[in-house]
Symmetry: C2
Subunit: 326 residues, 2 copies
């Protein structure tokens, strides 16, 4: 990060990562890194109607837009959904940066462009969807060119995505509702009743987390809806302290994601291709630990790749000139 | 059902099935069937303290107890949990009616006895728990003696139980949180947003339900937390009408229960032993349909077996004399 005036002078793009529950605005430099970052809680699920979207964008980045009116503004995420600012139709897998750039749509006020989400379809299974993660994947391939030929990219989160990349294109992907399952089970199911509130629990209980991961690995055939009940039975019988139950449940759910995801990866003959984790450092660290416990695999870890993805897509769309010396 | 005065005269036992969310009181005849049944919403999760429990029991069955003060009162379910009326320690698998009867405890006022729950333990896996279902299993074995030698008994519900019976004993069992998962996902997750409210949906969408069951059977290795997201992606893409999404999700979740449960049953070499469904007719019909779609298996279906179980346990405990001509 640099002083904002200096960043503003050298920025190539104003990028917005606008998900359901929050918005992050970036001044992005020629190298695809964020020079300045701002965050608000005004996610797409809290905004309705074109005027309201324009007002939120103005609040988040209007000063940058007025100071550098020639700078393009590119947004990704749920802002492009049917309940967002503009309903941007999904691009279809396989898709690369060029295909995503071709699917961008402008906002009604002409002040910003929005990246399409990605649809996986046509393989005889139900369709799958992402909005926002496609931009992070493009960014990961930009920052780590060795992933372009062949890779399995995992973006952990509320709705984790496992994406298969070949030749710079996202060939297919699968969503796992791991983060949302953890949240609803903890807040709304019988499993949460024995658990301490997060602020009471002290730190992360690594042993309990790993026990959950290993339980999913070794006895996952008994079913996830069976195994999660042990986060109650171990508490009721006093075998596990209540302070450990939440991390145990987290380990079980992430373990089941790995169980299915690693088999999916093997099916895609990606066993020997790099495995990369893209997301917040804390969540990636949790997945890295789970991966090592589950199978000894070590993933490459990348932090926020959305700025690099937004710049790459802006260049692919001709909104920003490509530079030789980036 | 018969007229209440006549039922009262011929009853052998006052039985109470007292779960977390409700209470059912029965006048039980010599054949183990309910002569009269009453239901209230005063489940154990709504009652606290011995006096309050005694008052709820008095409200539900006090008139019967005063009219026939010599009639024993036997209760099962969460009323015997650590947050219930009396904390009745779990009996441990393998257990038969005699072992359960030996574990009963009286209430502080001496007016009722409570059946212990059942603990599965010692197999190297986390423990598992039931309270109330053990009584229904005893009742099923009483009403259908052909199940005693060897059977797999499935009790669908909020927390479904799969129990393995051999020689009249419950050898082991496994809980699946299927019903609770459906409820929390529908009410609190992103999946519920596209679904119509139950009252709008018209009837049961059998085709969508069966599609969910078959998806779990044919592609369940992709993981439950992945597959449930299709209850969103099929709606967003317009492939499935919103009126069908709830039953599709139900089919997916029950399909995953069958996927794990039928493998568990095969592990227990119960493939050729009878499979029985015990529970409400509507839920059993849904599971029967799912079983047939999943594997062509047809289960024996039993309605409420708690009264027969309570009478059998009262007899095993010597609270009620066994009759030769029941």
């Amino acid at each position: 990060m640099v002083a904002e005036a200096q960043a503003l002078a050298s920025a190539r793009l104003i990028g917005i990562d606008w998900g359901s529950t929050g918005l992050r605005a970036f001044l992005i430099g020629a190298d695809g890194l964020a020079l300045v970052e701002r965050a608000t809680a005004q996610g797409a699920s809290t905004v309705s109607g074109a005027e309201a979207y324009a007002a939120v964008l103005d609040e988040a980045a209007g000063d940058w837009m007025r100071a550098r009116p020639e700078l393009p503004v590119l947004a990704c995420g749920m802002v492009g959904s049917q309940y967002g600012w503009v309903d941007v139709p999904y691009a279809t897998c396989p898709a690369d940066a060029q295909a995503l750039a071709a699917g961008m749509r402008g906002t009604p006020d002409g002040k910003a462009c929005i990246v399409p989400g990605l649809l996986k379809d046509g393989d005889g299974l139900p369709p799958d969807l992402m909005r926002g993660e496609e931009t992070q994947i493009v960014g990961a391939l930009q920052l780590r060119p060795e992933l372009r030929e062949q890779a399995c990219i995992v973006l952990p989160g509320t709705h984790s995505k496992w994406a298969q990349v070949r030749g710079g294109r996202v060939e297919r992907f699968a969503t796992h509702m791991t983060g949302e399952l953890y949240a609803v089970l903890r807040q709304h199911s019988v499993l949460g009743r024995l658990m301490q509130a997060p602020q009471d629990g002290g730190g992360f209980d690594e042993a309990a987390f790993c026990e959950g991961v290993e339980m999913a690995r070794d006895a996952g055939h008994l079913g996830m809806s069976h195994q999660i009940f042990s986060a109650r039975s171990l508490g009721v019988t006093g075998r596990m302290p209540s302070s450990a139950l939440a991390d145990y449940l987290s380990g079980l759910l992430i373990g089941h994601e790995l169980r299915a995801g690693l088999e999916w990866r093997a099916d895609a003959t990606l066993d020997h291709a790099p495995l990369a984790l893209v997301g917040s450092p804390a969540l990636c660290a949790r997945y890295q630990l789970a991966l090592q416990r589950y199978s000894g695999v070590r993933a490459l870890v990348l932090d926020n790749t959305a700025p690099a993805g937004l710049l790459c897509l802006a260049q692919a769309a001709g909104l920003v000139a490509k530079e030789n010396a980036a």
